[in-house]
Symmetry: C2
Subunit: 111 residues, 2 copies
Amino acid sequence: MATPQTLDRTLTALADPTRRAILRRLSSGEARVTDVAQPFGMSLNAVSKHILVLERAKLVKRRKVGRDHYLSYRPEPLDAAAKWIAETRTFWATRLDALEKLLRDEDAAKR
Amino acid sequence: MATPQTLDRTLTALADPTRRAILRRLSSGEARVTDVAQPFGMSLNAVSKHILVLERAKLVKRRKVGRDHYLSYRPEPLDAAAKWIAETRTFWATRLDALEKLLRDEDAAKR
DNA sequence: TATATATTCAACCATATGGTTGAATATATT
DNA sequence: AATATATTCAACCATATGGTTGAATATATA
């Protein structure tokens, strides 16, 4: 179900320090847009846009209560990202092992 | 040593399907720029630029032999990315466990 | 030496990104 | 009803991104 597009959105969302900081903030509990924005030295609007990117990536969910929008962290999309990274790394490790074995064998044959 | 900038570059590099495909290609062995570019329906120059992004992120290394540039996959930067994701996920899981326990306890207290 | 191949450099283009400010909308509070 | 607060919407700006084409550079090959 993780279309490449989904992975794109996840990784794009994570590839920005402000957005990673927002996620960290939300990972320790729900917060409103203003609360989230407060520590950052940028306009509320800028943070609002970052939140949109995180929402598009489904890393953040919004719950409206009156005029307040409560944001919460959704870890699920991270799974696909972690999986991609693990797979890419594992595959290489396997090949590296094979290569090392090959070199060892060649080396042994030489003697 | 993983400055936020390093993580930025790693995640930015990964947040593009063409670049992920290039990495996959290289994870099964060295290849020249032209070889890497061949399967993609885009100009050599475009691929050359993608390779530059991957190099800047230290996910790809270049070895020049005459006019040929051999590219190889470097998995190291993935570790920092995997670590960030794992940490972010784990932290949340811990809190969720705590919250669930709390709700269970409250529920038990009610009865 | 002339030509072909591998690669980058440079200029350009359209669109995306990350920020700003100012106005609009919706809900609370006095 | 008037005002204050929370948030988005809209327009704008500078720079980045992902692509193109054409020329330059470096190395092989005939």
